[in-house]
């Protein structure tokens, strides 16, 4: 993983990135990258996940900037390879830069990406609000907060609000395990980050 040591030099866009239109810069490149899926959640692509941030021309060639989800996400080098491969198959040479600031947030997922997650059986994340202040942590732990309506996780199978957390950590760092008490199906919840 190559990490930019001077994050202040490159300002990344904040928020979700909409699908590019043909009149926009680097449309052909963005369009090619639409086919690059998240290695662990293959129903969404890197743009929909908010991982793909910038395509730009530099003095040394075309550069694609991505940002890691979690610091230790083991799929990052796979994503770099997938981006390079997708472009080289179309005869485009590019280098991939991984930049960590500003930090990725689940708020950067597109609405389309969230719907795809839900259809795939993963409850999409609530607005994050996390990472703002350490004070948030105190609220985190109380079971009473979990019962708060704003924290309710809807079952992606039957839509029921009657769900319960089985474990804070699921099959990957970005997900928690939940169980629906109505249809009794277990499911993953993509944690707000």
């Amino acid at each position: 993983m190559q990490v930019d040591a001077t994050p202040s030099l490159l300002r990344l866009p904040d928020g979700p990135i909409a699908k590019k239109q043909p009149n926009e810069p680097f449309y052909a490149i963005w369009n090619l990258l639409e086919s690059v899926a998240d290695p662990e959640i293959p129903v969404v692509n890197l743009r929909e996940m908010g991982i793909l941030r910038v395509v730009r021309q530099t003095a040394t060639g075309l550069e694609v900037v991505i940002t890691p989800t979690y610091s230790g996400c083991p799929a990052m080098s796979q994503m770099e390879d997938d981006v390079v491969n997708a472009l080289s198959q179309a005869g485009v040479a590019a280098r991939v830069l991984t930049q960590i600031a500003p930090a990725w947030s689940t708020d950067w997922m597109t609405a389309e990406g969230r719907e795809k997650l839900r259809a795939y059986g993963i409850a999409p994340p609530h607005p994050s609000g996390c990472g703002t202040a350490a004070a948030n942590v105190i609220q985190f732990a109380s079971k009473k907060v979990a019962a708060d309506a704003t924290m309710t996780v809807l079952c992606p199978q039957c839509g029921s609000e009657n769900t319960t957390e089985t474990s804070h950590f699921g099959s990957t760092a970005c997900k928690a395990l939940y169980r629906c008490l109505s249809c009794l199906e277990p499911f993953d919840y993509f944690k707000p980050y």
């Binding site: 993983m1 990490v3 040591a5 001077t6 994050p7 202040s8 890691p68 979690y70 610091s71 230790g72 996400c73 083991p74 960590i100 600031a101 500003p102 930090a103 990725w104 994050s128 996390c130 990472g131 202040a133 350490a134 948030n136 942590v137 105190i138 985190f140 732990a141 089985t166 474990s167 804070h168 950590f169 699921g170 099959s171 990957t172 760092a173 395990l177 944690k191 980050y193």
Partner: protein
């Protein structure tokens, strides 16, 4: 001054890598499968944080040969600057009823005490004068909040659980608390980086840490033990007898096959 900043980055990185290695020892041995996964995920985050910090040291050093692997695998015990708390084993029998060589209460207690500190440290380091450290802090804060939530929930569940789980959680906290004195005892390296605005003085976080700890212990029906006695010195490179065993396990593959790739 630059050397102190590198030492500070190594201190933060070594904390993460050593606790990551310790927690990974539960992989395949968790008390329930959800906890097995939780600890593996916790390790993954910590090792990810350590990588970012080691890479930053390599960038700052600019000697063309320092790499994250060199820093993690080819330094020895006196070079590591982690808190002594983090290198301790998952412990032996602390109560008459515990058996085996791993006590989950110790794992939970340590993760709780350390995560409660680190949410405050990372939050403060978001405004570090060093832009890359500030970036790493913003990212690490989000992950550490989850670690704290996980550890705190189990602390309460075990403390306010059965007589047995209560006794073992209390014994674990009694065992671990003295090591937290090291968090708030400044070293030369920390004092230097606080002056440059790159690091944080942990003593300014101590009141908030006490609040986090006290509230959780009350909810867990546990008593807060006095944290007196010897103040450990891991962050200055003087460690307990346990770190050598952690490093032997962690570094043996890289040292047997230097620069191997797959």
């Amino acid at each position: 001054m630059a050397a102190y900043f590198q030492d500070y980055l190594l201190h933060l990185a070594d904390n993460a890598v050593i606790l990551g290695q310790r927690n990974a020892q539960w992989c395949g041995h968790g008390p329930v499968i959800e906890e097995d996964l939780a600890l593996a995920n916790n390790s993954l985050d910590l090792i990810g944080q350590a990588r970012l910090l080691y890479q930053h040291v390599a960038t700052v050093r600019k000697d063309g040969k320092t790499s994250e692997d060199l820093l993690a695998y080819f330094r020895d015990v006196p070079d590591f600057k982690n808190y002594t708390l983090l290198e301790l084993p998952h412990s032996t029998a602390l109560t008459p009823t515990s058996s085996g060589d791993r006590d989950y209460a110790v794992t939970i207690g340590r993760n709780f005490l350390y995560s409660a500190l680190m949410v405050l440290v990372w939050d403060a380091l978001k405004s570090s004068a060093d832009a890359q450290l500030a970036a790493i802090a913003s990212k690490s804060l989000k992950e550490t909040q989850y670690h704290l939530r996980h550890a705190r929930d189990w602390l309460v569940r075990l403390g306010d659980g059965t007589d047995e789980s209560h006794a073992r959680m209390q014994a674990a906290i009694n065992h671990l608390m003295p090591y937290t004195q090291e968090f708030f005892t400044p070293s030369v390296m920390e004092t230097a980086v606080v002056k440059t605005g790159m690091g944080v003085d942990n003593r300014t976080l101590q009141a908030d840490w006490n609040t986090l700890v006290d509230e959780a212990l009350v909810q867990a029906t546990l008593k807060r033990p006095a944290a007196g006695g010897f103040v450990t010195t891991g962050k200055t490179g003087i460690h307990s007898e346990h770190l050598g065993f952690v490093l032997a396990e962690m570094q043996s593959l890289a040292r047997a096959h230097p620069e191997a790739v797959w």
